[in-house]
Symmetry: C3
Subunit: 131 residues, 3 copies
C-alpha cells in the first residue's frame, strides 16, 4: 500500500488516465519509499454534477472538468512524508499532466500494516513476508 483512489471527471482518454496513474505512482515510490511494485490504484469517472469540490473559503474556483480528488488509504505515515506527498504530487501532476494545482484535492486515511492482505488470504506484514 498505499491504495489510492482517484476520482476524476468522465471523458478522459485511457492514455491520459495512464499518464496520471504513472505520475502519481512515481511520487508514491519517491516520497513513501515503497517498492516499485507497491502499486494499488483505482480510478473512477464522475459526471460534473456528481462531484462537487469547493474551497472552504480559501478563495479559488476549481475547474469542474479538470478537478481531481485523490484519496489515499495507507498504514501510518509521518507528517513530514504526508506534507511532502501533497507538495510533490501537485508539482508532478502539474508538470506531467498539466493539472492546475488548485484543481487537486488530497485526503489521507490510515489503518495499520496488519489490516492488509495482499493475496493468498495472508497478512504479509504479520507473517513477515513484508516488513
Amino acid at each position: 500500500m498505499p491504495l489510492i483512489r482517484f476520482y476524476v471527471q468522465e471523458g478522459r482518454t485511457p492514455e491520459a488516465t495512464r499518464t496520471l496513474l504513472d505520475a502519481a505512482h512515481e511520487v508514491v515510490v519517491d516520497v513513501f519509499g515503497v517498492p516499485q511494485r507497491d502499486r494499488y490504484q483505482i480510478v473512477t469517472e464522475h459526471k460534473p454534477d456528481q462531484m462537487i469540490l469547493e474551497d472552504t473559503g480559501l478563495g479559488f474556483e476549481r475547474d469542474p472538468s479538470e478537478q481531481i480528488l485523490v484519496q489515499v488509504f495507507t498504514s501510518p505515515r509521518s507528517q513530514e512524508a504526508k506534507l511532502a506527498f501533497f507538495d510533490k504530487l501537485a508539482a508532478k501532476l502539474q508538470d506531467v499532466c498539466g493539472l492546475d494545482p488548485k484543481d487537486l484535492m488530497i485526503s489521507i486515511f490510515e489503518n495499520t500494516q496488519a489490516d492488509w492482505s495482499f493475496g493468498f488470504g495472508r497478512a504479509q506484514y504479520v507473517t513477515g513476508e513484508l516488513g
Copy 2:
C-alpha cells in the same frame, strides 16, 4: 471537509441529485459549523443487485430503489455533533427529498486535519491558512 460519499440507486434525475446534495450540505454547515464553501461531495449510482443494505436485525426492510448510504470522511467530530448529524440529516432528507428515514444509512470515518490538502499541494490546516 467533511468529504461525503453518497451511494444511491441508478436512475435519479440530475435535479433530484442536486436537491439531495444541497439538502445534505445544509445539514453539514449547520451541525459541524463549517464554512458555506466547505463542500466536498461525490455521488455514485449503483444497480440494485450491487448495493445490499440490510438491517442487522433491527426489524425493517429498506426500499432498494430508494435507499441511500452516506459515508462521511472527516477530521474528528464530537459524539454530540455526530448524533446531531445523523438525526438532522434523516429529518432534512425526509423533509426535502421525501426519503423514508429507514432508507438512510450513515457511517463516519475520521482522520486528522493534517491529512487534508485542499489544493496547491499544501496542507492548509498545517500552514495556518485554515484552522
Copy 3:
C-alpha cells in the same frame, strides 16, 4: 456493519456477483459473529486500465480480469478475527467462485460503533438498540 466495498472488473454476470456477495457474507457472519442481516455490501465494476493491483514485490502477477479488491469498513475487530477473515475469505472465494487466492486483495479500515446510523437518524449502538 462491516460495510464492504467490492471492486471488481467489469463484465461479471449478475449471478456471479450474487454468488460472490453471498459467499463473502457467509464469512463475515462466521468470523465476526454478526447477525445474519448485518449485511452491507456495495460492488463497483472497473475497466482494466482503471484498476491496477500489483504485488509489492511478493512475486506474483494477478489476472487483471479476475482480481478483486475488498475494502472493509468496520468498528474495531481483534487481530485474530482479521487474520481469520483474510484466510477464510480467500478459501471461500476460491471454493465457491473459483477465485485464485493471489487475485484477492483485502484492506480493513476501522471506526467506532458510535459512528454508525443504520436508519432513522439514530446511532443504534449508542441508543442501545444494538450492542
